[in-house]
Symmetry: C2
Subunit: 206 residues, 2 copies
């Protein structure tokens, strides 16, 4: 009986996952920034994901593995131009707001990730921060997830308010995604912000 | 508000304010991005504020009014080149982390703001989000502070995960600062992220 109920409940969770989405912006530091952006986001609207663009950023909602796949693809395309490009990403899971999001804040784990993590050949320097909201023990969760990026081999250095990461684009976004998913197991509403940089003329470690 | 009560306690708070700082990045979408950035941040190290630069962002710590003043000055200088420029800003107050920050998480109001808010003549479109950490009632605090930006006349529109703001640079940064300060009265650890854009070729409202 309990088994049957669990199965139905699990199925319901799979059918109606907690609201997840990303908001990203792409900054190519070149006079050609418009074609670089347009070429990079080409096809995004044909993915079946929810896409909303405004003058500051682009929202992409839907299956998290596909969202991460698109973030990787878009940034890789922009970075392959050889220009210095930066992408900022806001990730959000389970936002309980009414006007701003649709979910309930209840703790529900995302389905297991199917991200493949094949290397892109693009070296990135990144900074990210994780915000588990509405929870007393959020600092422990943050430290645990910083540890996870160390085990993944992409942690470069801690700094005020952020962690610096370095590695192949797919490793860095993969580590951020793995930490984000793990935090969602312990907090109903989780937000992360990340800044990814490629082809920077600055050689100093982040 | 409790500004009228100037007590020994308040004076002690002024002497040892909670750890506050900002981390910003400037993205001029032009081949000339290096001189635009270097010209904009000129003088930042002579302000007496704590400044740390790496390959992804710049940390500025110290008196919050002076930090806001520098953020305004830096972005105004970059925008006055006429190039499409974006600045991202992470604000943090009272982070209780050890490696990453220095304060205690205890709720301590910042001193009253002395920001003058003189208009810069620079029209910006912005998106921001506020994260009061470690508190159950954080969504109420977020809604209250979004209301404050509406009263300030800079709120443009709500979107997934962010609020869109529009107005003169000093009005927009002033509204973000006022909301941030007010949130610090009710949460020991508050983070905000903002993206400011000027001279964008995209005319769509944010």
């Amino acid at each position: 009986m309990t088994e049957a109920r669990t199965t139905t409940k699990d199925r319901a969770i799979e059918e109606a996952p907690p609201f997840f989405g990303a908001r990203f912006s792409l900054y190519p530091m070149t006079d050609r920034y418009i074609p670089v952006i347009l070429d990079a986001i080409k096809g995004l609207r044909d993915t079946g994901l929810e896409v909303e663009t405004d003058d500051v950023s682009t929202f992409v909602g839907g299956d998290r593995d596909r969202v991460f796949g698109e973030l990787t693809r878009v940034f890789a395309a922009a970075a392959r131009t050889g220009e210095h490009v930066v992408m900022t990403v806001l990730l959000s899971h389970g936002c309980p707001g009414e006007t701003y999001c649709e979910s309930t804040g209840e703790i529900r784990m995302p389905a297991q990730s199917a991200r493949d993590g094949a290397k892109t050949g693009i070296a990135v320097s990144a900074q990210w921060s994780l915000y588990p909201l509405g929870s007393d023990g959020y600092m422990d969760l943050i430290y645990r997830e910083i540890e996870r990026t160390k085990k993944a081999g992409v942690f470069a250095k801690g700094a005020h308010f952020v962690s610096g990461l370095r590695g192949d684009l797919s490793e860095v976004l993969g580590a951020i995604g793995a930490s984000f998913d793990a935090a969602c197991a312990d907090a109903g509403h989780v937000v992360a912000h990340a800044t990814l940089s490629a082809n920077s003329p600055t050689e100093k470690p982040s």
